[in-house]
């Protein structure tokens, strides 16, 4: 058995070396500056007659005023519900009849949106985007309709153990920071929002100095320039200034159990992570892949799923926000084995911190991370997502050329250092939703809501 294993491995290592020798073609990103001074990053691809525009306004739901949680999300569902000469139904009908996809999303740090259109409807699509940003109506009827829709959606999310566990984690970790509040608001805060709040949101948040634009697909730089002006040129030069304090992780190491009569307990765990611009970020990325990021090959997957059959899945991920950097993860398991699962999780957390990783384990992780990178460029959305992240995270327009080398230079010593810095089983903060029996060590019980 071992001999066959070794033979197969040598074949695949040869393949890996082959890959490293030939840098994978991904995408060519170029900067387009419009006549009016709007900057967008463009990846031209004329293979399919469609265009995607991803845009981001920095500053997100963390800026929702106290008591008005959910404002950014409320705005996100109303921008396409009537704008310019179109009332709500006319706007929706024009989108549908021209197969134009337009949507907005409120995150804690950013307010983002995306437009996708067939090339033949390009100008109309950009015009509709322009109207949604510059001339949204917020008519009473759609405002009340979408308020009802958000309330329904909120009720549904309060049934969902994954959502409850995530919200409980953020509330436990950041009780005194905007990050601890729900992006989707509460029934009370949604009821408190009015049209003046929505108009104020648009006036304060949509501007040219906090705007990031990425365009991918069937369009040339020459055609894009004037469209950038038509779409975004009318925005005010500057967004209102804002300040969000750094988020300090409170209650580190706590285990909160939200009781709920369900057969499987859902767990969210997390601790402080690492900033995107930290020199050890790439070492941390590789470390996390080995710990719980590599879907079917991580240590947590092996120990929790493959060896013990405790869970269908377990994963971890780095989550660098603007005001806190986190290392988070999730798992779900039957009530009777929840305590055991958390014990295994803490044990693996500690083991990686103490022992680091081996050369072979590191090489295999790097082979996957670098080798799979080109797969992310297979769709318009994939490319647009990466190019947008490059801008938001200030990675530089040449990032795609440098990225795999940044991974390749990570050493065993780098991973050991960063694991010691990040992984402390004592400060790992855990929330559980369910009816675990026995309770995990140190659990604090909390009733739902």
């Amino acid at each position: 058995m071992m001999a066959r294993f070794a033979a197969a491995l040598s074949v695949s290592l040869a393949l890996v070396l082959g890959l490293a020798a030939a840098p994978a073609r991904t995408a060519e990103v170029r900067e387009v500056v419009s006549p009016g001074g709007i900057t967008g990053w463009l990846v031209e691809d004329h293979s399919i007659p469609l265009i995607a525009v991803y845009f981001v306004f920095r500053g997100g739901a963390a800026l929702d005023p106290a008591g008005k949680e959910g404002l950014a999300e409320f705005a996100s569902v109303l921008l396409d519900e009537g704008a310019g000469d179109y009332d709500s139904q006319a706007f929706q009908r024009t989108l549908e009849d021209n197969s134009i996809q337009l949507g907005f999303d409120a995150g804690q740090d950013n307010f983002s949106g995306r437009l996708k259109t067939l090339t033949k409807n390009r100008d109309l699509a950009f015009d509709l985007l322009h109207l949604s940003l510059a001339e949204a109506h917020f008519d009473a009827d759609p405002v009340e309709r979408m308020r009802a829709a958000l309330l329904s959606s909120l009720s549904r999310s309060l049934e969902d153990p994954d959502r409850i566990a995530a919200q409980a984690w953020w509330a436990a970790a950041f009780p005194n920071h905007p990050y601890g509040r729900p992006v989707s608001g509460t029934p009370e805060s949604l009821a408190a929002l009015d049209v003046a709040d929505l108009r104020g949101f648009v006036d304060r948040r949509f501007a040219r100095d906090n705007l990031v634009v990425s365009v991918v697909g069937d369009i040339t730089p020459e055609a894009l320039g004037p469209l950038l002006d038509r779409t975004f040129g009318m925005l005010p030069a500057q967004a209102s200034s804002w300040e969000v304090p750094p988020a300090m992780l409170e209650n580190p190491g706590s285990v909160t159990v939200v009781e709920r009569a369900i057969p499987q307990s859902v767990v969210v765990f997390g601790d402080l992570g690492i900033a995107r611009d930290d020199p050890d970020f790439y070492a941390a990325h590789v470390m996390n892949h080995i710990l719980g990021g590599g879907s079917f090959n991580s240590r947590l997957y092996e120990e929790v799923r493959e060896k013990r059959g405790l869970a269908y899945g377990i994963y971890s991920y780095l989550y660098p926000l603007d005001h806190a950097s986190l290392l988070m993860g999730s798992v779900a398991t039957q009530s009777a084995r929840l305590a055991e699962t958390i014990a295994v999780l803490r044990e693996q957390w500690g083991r990686l911190a103490e022992e680091g990783v081996g050369e072979k384990e590191l090489d295999e992780a790097k082979a996957f991370i670098t080798g799979s990178f080109p797969l992310r460029f297979g769709s318009t959305d994939g490319v647009a997502g990466i190019v947008t992240a490059m801008q938001i995270q200030d990675l530089g327009i040449d990032y795609l050329d440098r990225r795999n080398a940044l991974i390749d230079t990570v050493t065993v010593e780098d991973v050991r250092r960063v694991a010691r810095r990040l992984l402390d089983p004592e400060t790992l903060t855990v929330t559980v939703v369910g009816a675990p029996d026995p309770l995990p060590e140190g659990a604090i019980l909390r009733n739902a809501e």
Partner: protein, 458 residues
């Protein structure tokens, strides 16, 4: 913007949640989009393996997807969940590549992979850089013929499947209700069984059950192989012959499934739970598919779904959400891809303070209006144009076309049939939509499902 709940359980159980989310998203894409979109090439090996190649050189990568013509609806009574359990076990190794090595080698070569089980088929895929195609082909061909299963690896995996069922179904009242509504919609046909299986039957599955199921169904003459990406059919053919060619055909028998008796009774299921905060109303009608029942209605029903419940200007959304303000969301969906009878479904979330009875009355009135007056020809034209455009979006992506083509061919449809989709959609007339609506939207074909909140017992 419409905010809609996932009204129905996904038709697939996948190996990971990430893949499931993709599949759920795919469920709501009008499709399969076809006609001269993918221009696939096909050939068949002597051992019966059908091969479909979709050439697409956008990125230097390639996807291999294999579909076995066996799904949850092909399980024996008492063995529900077996097709899906075997899907999990297909990663447990062969003599040549012991347990764990398959996924390890795929990852080591920068590959992504997953698997999925539906009622009609079981699928596996990997995406890799184009020069790694040979490796994944060798691995996939190996496990077609040489899977080795021991209790030591199979028993913990059964626990994993049980946890998967708890995650997807038992923890979620909506999924539980949908499972029961499905069981009532199909009185006799095995589509009424949950793909993942009933818990008491999953618990009884054995390693020997999985071995026997594998021996009976996994063979080249019961499979469709799709290769999509930056390769040509001329490059693919020798590799397929080298790795899959030597595997002997097994003379797999055609599927035998019991069929539904004519539906005669409207049915109703209701579940109240203290875990529910947002009530839900939905109704499923037994409906033709591309291959079952009045299959020429399959195109008209896709258009009907667009007119009735596809988006913010559809009849149901306009009537219930915009005008009458009874609901926070409303819509419909229909997928004709199944081998046997499919379902046409309508879902509504009542607004706070509105009863499910009021919502049901409004839906019934709208359906009655459609049946009495027919659909607006202009609405039909709008819906068909929108569906036709979806064919362009369907060309976007690393795996573009692979799934739609594989599902169709595995079900027994021809490539030409798939490719004719846009022209058949645009040819649908308002009269055909009316006829399909009158044939399908009948109480005796339906199950109405109500999800209600309940005060917790003190």
């Amino acid at each position: 913007m419409t905010i809609r709940p996932l009204a129905a359980a996904a038709p697939f159980a996948a190996r990971s949640l990430a893949a499931l989310l993709l599949l759920v998203a795919a469920l709501f894409v009008p499709g399969p989009a076809g006609a001269a979109i993918w221009n696939p090439k096909t050939f068949t090996l002597e051992n019966g393996l059908q091969v479909v190649v979709v050439e697409n050189d956008r990125v230097p990568a390639v996807t291999q997807m294999i579909f076995y013509k066996v799904g949850a609806a092909d399980e024996e009574p008492g063995k529900s969940g077996l097709a899906h359990y075997l899907e999990h076990l297909m990663f447990k190794g062969t003599k040549g590549h012991p347990n764990g090595e398959f996924s390890r080698l795929v990852a080591l070569n920068g590959g992504q992979e997953n698997a999925f089980t539906s009622r009609d088929y079981t699928g596996y895929f990997q995406s890799v850089a184009r020069d790694r195609l040979e490796l994944i082909m060798e691995l996939e061909a190996d496990r077609m013929a040489n899977l080795t299963l021991t209790d030591a690896v199979a028993r913990p995996e059964l626990d994993v499947v049980i946890e998967e069922r708890r995650s997807r179904i038992d923890n979620d009242p909506r999924a539980l209700l949908d499972e029961r509504a499905g069981a009532v919609l199909y009185l006799h046909h095995p589509y009424g069984m949950p793909i993942i299986g009933w818990m008491h039957e999953i618990e009884g599955l054995t390693t020997e059950d999985a071995r026997a199921f594998y021996a009976r169904h996994y063979a080249p003459d019961n499979a469709v192989l799709v290769i999509s990406g930056d390769v040509t059919v001329d490059e693919v053919r020798p590799l397929v012959e080298k790795y899959y060619g030597p595997i002997p055909a097994r003379g797999i028998a055609a599927r035998q499934r019991v069929q539904e008796p004519p539906p005669l009774t409207a049915r109703r299921v209701e579940m109240a739970s203290p875990l529910v905060r947002q009530p839900e109303w939905n109704r499923s009608y037994l409906a033709p598919s591309y291959l079952a029942g009045e299959s020429d209605q399959a195109y008209a029903l896709q258009v009907l779904s667009g007119v009735l419940g596809g988006g913010a200007t559809s009849r149901l959304y306009r009537r219930l959400v915009v005008e009458q303000k009874l609901a926070s969301s409303a819509g419909s969906y229909y997928s004709p891809d199944t081998i046997d009878l499919s379902r046409f479904a309508i879902y509504v979330s009542p607004r706070d303070g509105v009863s499910v009875e009021e919502v049901e009355k409004a839906v019934d009135e709208e359906i009655a209006a459609v049946l009495a007056e027919g659909v607006d020809p202009e609405a039909v034209a709008r819906a068909t144009a929108r569906l036709e455009s979806a064919a362009v979006y369907a060309r976007d992506g690393l795996q573009a076309g692979a799934r739609s083509l594989g599902v169709a061919v595995a079900a027994g449809r021809s490539i030409a049939d798939v490719e004719a989709w846009p022209e058949r959609i645009v040819a649908v007339t308002a009269e055909e939509v009316d006829a399909a609506a009158r044939a399908v939207l009948r109480p005796e074909r339906s199950v109405t499902a109500l999800l209600l909140p309940e005060e917790p017992a003190q």
